[in-house]
């Protein structure tokens, strides 16, 4: 409870503190609040370990009880959100100072010049000094800076509170309220501190999110109406009361609502520009923490509450997920703006998560949930790199960058760790999430009698990991390899805040990659409980064996289709590969 509302209560305080006391105190104050809240979240999580829940419930209105609950599903989300928010406070400091000061100069010098063109970042006036904390500021500047930073952190705290509230809510109305609440600070954060044509982008972002939320609301209200209450417990026990002809509609509204949040294919319209033009710390929180709440919502409201109506839909989720993965990856290859590459990469990663959620197996769903955590860490690292590059060089354009590995060695190393996380290479947490996810997906396909769509989706998804590696490595190459352009001779790892925060996140992803148990224990036991009595889902310890009945001919065709996907086989007519079907074993 404290954890959720501490930031909200203190967010006005932050504003005034910023005005009066200056940035340093403000930064550490925000950091302290969020750090404290994070600890309040983590302590009960440790107690829970595997299986249990931690809950605080209060009497509310006729809509039900107002409660906050930590369980196996919300622990990874809550911890990720707060750890990222906390770390990002420190990262914000140098970044936002630079950003606000440049804004200040702009408004003073060329007040008449409209800043409408996308990607205009004032390259010409850039001085390449990098570290701002040593700059001597005029009084006017200082005043402007302090009040702006106060505003920034006030909104920032409210934003993190909104995200956590969404995760911990125990009531659909409460969930929805927080879900909308986190939009408001984001709206202002982008509108006040964004780049380029930020107002238009903000409206697009807000408009799409609001539309998604409204469609979602219809579904939520329908659930509440049929089950006779909005409390999660009531819904869960009464879920069977929902008439069958409404189920599809409800699921549709949930998928559209959360699909917009996740930025799935066809619903991603708001995403690339928003990520590109918001200030980098906010991009990080939106990309790493906020969009994933869509995944949380899908798991909680569909997979959990409507768990008996999950099996059978999986294949559609998988197809949509794979389409999103491929689309995001392919589009990421087409960009020459760092943040746009990362934006499309986020779309692709959300596709992975959706693919895992559609796997119809315990492992697949668990992997998807861990992928949220690991994507949060990895994408945060990459966006921090982007922010650091913007901070140092003043440009996001990949054509103007190159060879920075020698200039910014620490950034290069931490970025590499982030890149490996996104690519899913051990020993980062990315691999731990991805292998469990794909393993589950394959199990799901096998148990579904080698359902051809599922097999194809699985094969494509595996191949997409190559695509993911390709665009990430190419991005890395264009930034860090090659010859340093003349204009960038003076850049370097100059801000300690940036380096340290990146190092912390990199350490997290490595620890999780070697020892993922701390998250997997609660996740797996939660998901396992969810489906302990449901058929059609691959269970944890389930070995696929005699219980699988097979349509022999169809299955053989699948085998062969599967084989054709792998380019290593030289299929020779007499090698027996073709004879697989009519060999002696049948």
């Amino acid at each position: 409870m404290v954890a959720t509302f501490l930031p909200l209560i203190f967010s006005p305080v932050a504003y005034f503190l910023g005005k009066r006391k200056g940035i340093n105190i403000l930064t550490w104050f925000s950091f302290g609040i969020l750090g404290l809240s994070t600890i309040f979240v983590i302590i009960p999580s440790i107690g829970i370990g595997s299986g249990g829940t931690y809950q605080e419930v209060f009497q509310w209105s006729q809509l039900g009880h107002f409660g906050l609950k930590l369980d196996g599903l919300s622990i990874p989300f809550a911890i990720t959100i707060y750890v990222l928010s906390t770390v990002m406070v420190l990262y914000s400091k140098p970044y936002m100072i630079r950003k606000i000061l440049r804004e200040y100069e702009k408004t003073k010098t060329d007040i008449n010049t409209k800043i409408d063109s996308v990607g205009d970042e004032g390259d010409q006036t850039f001085d390449n000094t990098g570290n701002n904390s040593i700059l001597v500021l005029s009084d006017n500047q200082k005043l402007f800076l302090n009040s702006q930073m106060g505003l920034y952190f006030a909104l920032y705290l409210a934003f993190s509170m909104g995200m956590l509230g969404t995760i911990l809510a125990t009531n659909l109305v409460e969930f929805y309220a927080f879900f909308e609440l986190m939009l408001v600070p984001t709206f202002f954060l982008i509108a006040f501190f964004g780049y380029g044509n930020r107002r238009r982008v903000t409206f697009v972002f807000f408009f799409w999110s609001a539309v998604g939320a409204l469609i979602l609301l219809l579904g939520l209200l329908a659930i509440g109406f049929f089950t006779g209450g909005f409390d999660y417990d009531i819904i869960k026990t009464n879920a069977y009361k929902i008439p069958l002809n409404w189920i599809d509609l409800i699921i549709f509204s949930i998928m559209i609502g959360f699909g917009i949040k996740l930025g799935l294919l066809f619903l991603h319209i708001w995403l690339p520009d928003t990520y590109t033009l918001s200030p980098t710390p906010i991009s990080i929180l939106i990309s790493s923490a906020m969009t994933g709440i869509g995944a949380y919502g899908i798991v909680r409201i569909w997979l959990d509450f409507l768990s008996s109506h999950y099996a059978g839909y999986g294949v559609y989720l998988e197809i949509w997920g794979v389409a999103t993965m491929v689309f995001g990856g392919a589009m990421a290859l087409m960009q020459n703006d760092i943040k746009k590459v990362l934006a499309y990469s986020s779309i692709s990663s959300m596709g992975y998560i959706l693919f895992g959620l559609g796997s119809e197996s315990i492992l697949g769903i668990s992997g998807a949930i861990l992928l949220y955590v690991t994507h949060g860490l990895g994408k945060a690292l990459l966006f921090m790199m982007a922010g650091s590059i913007i901070l140092q060089t003043g440009t996001r354009n990949l054509d103007k960058l190159g060879g920075l590995a020698s200039k910014m060695p620490y950034t290069a190393v931490f970025t590499m760790i982030g890149a490996l996380t996104i690519m899913g290479v051990p020993i980062t947490s990315g691999f731990m999430a991805e292998w469990v996810l794909f393993n589950g997906a394959l199990q799901g396909a096998i148990v579904n009698h080698w359902d051809s769509l599922k097999v194809i989706a699985f094969t494509l998804a595996m191949l997409t990991t190559v695509l993911t590696s390709a665009y990430i490595l190419w991005l890395y190459k264009r930034i860090f390899y090659g010859v340093v352009p003349e204009t960038l001779k003076n850049v370097g790892d100059k801000s300690g805040y940036v380096i340290v925060t990146m190092g912390v996140l990199a350490a997290f992803t490595l620890i999780l990659g070697i020892y993922p148990d701390m998250f997997y224990k609660p996740i797996v036991s939660y998901v396992d409980n969810l489906y302990s009595h449901t058929s059609g889902i691959v269970h944890l310890k389930q070995k696929i064996g005699s219980q699988t009945t097979l349509k022999v001919s169809g299955q053989l065709k699948e085998n062969f289709g599967n084989l054709k996907e792998s380019p290593d086989l030289q299929i020779k007519p007499n090698s027996g590969m073709y004879l697989l079907g009519n060999s002696i074993y049948f």
Binding site: I427, F431, M462, A470, Y481, K543, L563
Partner: protein, 706 residues
């Protein structure tokens, strides 16, 4: 935490763990030495590799005695997975090979990389690589193998692109040569990405294979897979065992640069020569062979059913690769690339041997032959690469036509490179290469696989080609007149000189070792043969000539006292002079003679000008075909990059650019239109409003009254 399962060897489990952990610890420490001198960094790095090698050595007696260490700790409790090391004879021998070759190459790089700016990165990744490689060798389950697998891939990526500034001198390939519109020269960072992606394709196949097995067995552990057969029976019933095995082999194809994923290895030569020697010749590319050696007996033993298709695929992939890359090596002008082609080709031999093992009743023979060739190849190829590095260091060009006549100035390099080359070309009786190749030939001959004569013919042709390109390489480099490049260098006052002792000692040792093994080749081979016969029968129940009919009992903690009947091992073999199979030996000698003589004629004696090949249209076309790598590289680029990128560009332009970004304006304009429609009613005149208002009231009142 460590539970040692092998009775009587408590404590030795720690040794096996440390073999792979120490290099990682060293790698983690290296960045902390940032402010220390280069000398200290080098000593620490080499020190850790030696420590790890000593621990490997400490378990060697155990391995030679046919015993094993298996120790596990809990790792992933949610899925009930354990982490563990499995040091069985196979793992222990391989581990020692890796460890000691690594030590020699690390010593070599003290001098070779002297003065390099990013030396920390170099040592970090070298140690990281050794750790990962040992992890592959000593893991007891597929998941940890995959950890090491990706670790070596990462180190390989990082070290191929070590010179990330992409200077022209670090490129490979001849600039300006374009095949099918694809440039055939590559920058280091590009080559790194290429290697990573090609490996990734192999890796996803391997992962899929792992998942398939996991889905049916619920475990990744080698021991667990072996102790319970039901999963294999179930998979066999559904015809999945062979696909799963083949998918696992897909990983080996990627990592060992076998056809069709062979193209990355040649471009990987952009890395420093020490890297090429360690990663792209002696160890990492052998990981694929090792994987087959790990899982091959498992499948062979498990499948009481017929699983020969898997081994057929392994054998033919090996055979085709051996031939494909040997032909390409014939025409390439770059010394390191010739060696790279040769590496892929020789690995093809090993795959062929491992494949044929599963197709013959004498599983042990083929298995031993493959492994023996791996050992001898690791020795001489590492030596060759280091010697080539010494030459590059001096000459400053990667092209062999920029060398020539070096034997006078670099006597030691010449001597030892020549010795290693003899081993590569398989000079009869005195080189390890001869014995191992002969063993492969023999196992091909004695197999009862119907197509094995074709494989044998292929193997002999490859042997001829190998001898030829080896002599070509030696001839172009060390014989003839000094090239223009060298004359110019000398004119500038840069004398081509012998390299210092730290550099030539390592490759000298390896070259001498490869000859030494050659001198006692038959005995050495016999030793390995016995060891593996014992290992295979003990662990997998594979006895020469047949598979044990009863399911093998696998918890062989009593292996010390086990008494396996070894009588069957040498029976049924055509034993002649020094255990040689006469046909195999004769064809091997013949191949060396023909190939070697031609090479001698063209490139050492230089009686015939090699350029005659350009005079004939057919041979010129053939030359071009080989020179452009059978156009496989271009093929992959078209499939993997060009076509896909064009497609994505279209999607980006039309779908993303027109439709998706059109949605927002469409909304905007429709809203504006709506507001215009609504605006019509906003006339602004009070009378109208009042009229509508009162009309509304009347309607409502009427409704209520009704």
């Amino acid at each position: 935490m460590v539970q040692n399962e092998t009775i009587g060897f408590v404590g030795l489990g720690v040794n096996a763990w440390l073999v792979w952990m120490l290099p990682f610890i060293g790698a983690a420490l290296i960045p902390a030495l940032k402010n220390k001198s280069e000398r200290i960094k080098s000593y620490v790095a080499v020190g850790f590799s030696i420590l790890s090698a000593l621990f490997a050595l400490s378990i060697l007696p155990l391995g030679l005695a046919g015993k094993e260490i298996h120790s596990q700790i809990p790792w992933f409790s949610a899925l009930n997975l354990n982490a563990g090391v499995l040091a069985d004879p196979l793992g222990i021998v391989m581990s020692n090979l890796v460890a000691w070759i690594s030590v020699s190459i690390l010593v070599y790089s003290i001098s070779y990389m002297h003065g390099e700016k990013s030396i920390i990165r170099y040592w970090f990744f070298m140690l990281f690589f050794i750790g990962s490689m040992q992890l592959i060798v000593l893991s007891d389950n597929l998941l940890m193998v995959f950890f090491g697998w990706e670790g070596v891939g990462l180190a390989s990526y990082a070290l191929i692109g070590f010179w990330y500034s992409d200077k022209k001198k670090d490129y490979v390939g001849k600039e300006g040569n374009v095949a099918w519109g694809i440039p055939m020269w590559t920058s280091p960072t590009h080559a790194g990405i290429k290697a990573f992606l090609f490996n990734r394709v192999g890796d996803i196949m391997m992962l899929t294979g792992m998942f398939l097995i996991f889905a049916y067995a619920g475990t990744f552990g080698f021991k667990e897979l072996l102790s319970d057969h039901t999963w294999a029976q179930e998979m066999m019933k559904q015809n999945l065992l062979i696909p799963a095995a083949v998918l696992l082999f897909g990983g080996a194809i990627g990592k060992s640069a076998q056809f069709p994923l062979n193209e990355w290895l040649v471009d990987a030569m952009t890395g420093p020569s020490s890297v090429s020697a360690l990663i792209h010749a002696a160890t990492m590319v052998k990981a694929g062979v090792f994987l087959v050696a790990r899982i091959g007996p498992l499948f062979f033993a498990l499948a009481v059913f017929n699983i020969s298709q898997f081994f057929e695929i392994v054998a033919w992939v090996g055979g085709i690769t051996a031939f494909l890359l040997a032909t390409q090596a014939l025409v390439n002008p770059e010394i390191k690339k010739v060696l790279a082609y040769s590496t892929g080709s020789q690995i093809g031999y090993m795959m062929m041997a491992l494949g044929i093992a599963g197709l013959s009743t004498h599983f042990v023979d083929g298995y031993t032959a493959g492994f023996f060739h791996m050992i001898s190849h690791a020795l001489f190829k590492a030596s060759l690469f280091m010697a080539a590095g010494a030459i590059l260091h001096n000459v400053g060009s990667r092209f062999m036509y920029d060398m020539g006549g070096l034997r006078k100035n670099m006597k030691k390099t010449y001597l030892f490179m020549f010795l290693s080359s003899l081993s590569l070309a398989a000079a009869p009786l005195i080189t390890s290469g001869f014995w191992s190749k002969d063993a492969i030939f023999a196992s091909l001959l004695e197999s009862n696989y119907s197509l094995s004569p074709y494989l044998f013919a292929l193997a002999v042709i490859v042997a001829v080609l190998t001898a030829f390109y080896t002599f070509r390489m030696v001839g172009l480099t060390f014989f003839g007149k000094p090239s223009k490049n060298i004359v110019e260098l000398e004119a500038k006052g840069h004398r081509v000189h012998e390299v210092d002792r730290i550099m030539w000692m390592p490759f000298a040792i390896l070259a001498v070792a490869s000859i030494a093994i050659g001198l006692v080749g038959f005995a050495f081979e016999g030793q390995i043969h016995n060891l593996f016969a014992y290992y295979l029968s003990n662990t997998f129940g594979i006895v020469d000539g047949k598979i044990m009919s009863s399911s093998p009992t696998l918890s062989k903690s009593t292996s010390q006292s086990s008494n396996i009947n070894n009588n069957g091992i040498s029976e049924g073999k055509n034993t002649g002079f020094l255990n040689l199979n006469p046909i195999a030996a004769l064809s091997s000698v013949g191949a060396f003679g023909i190939g070697g003589y031609l090479g001698y004629l063209f490139y050492i004696q230089r009686k015939v000008d090699p350029n005659i090949i350009q005079e004939n249209a057919v041979s010129r076309a053939l030359w071009k075909f080989l020179y452009n790598r059978w156009y496989l590289n271009s093929f992959w680029y078209w499939i993997g990059a060009v076509i896909q990128l064009a497609l994505y560009r279209k999607i980006y332009k039309y779908f993303e650019g027109v439709i998706v970004s059109g949605v927002n304006p469409a909304f905007r304009y429709s809203m504006i239109f709506m507001s215009k429609v609504v605006k019509v009613s906003q006339t602004g005149s009070i009378q109208t409003y009042l009229f509508v208002f009162s009309a509304g009231i009347i309607v409502i009142a009427m409704l209520l009254l009704m």
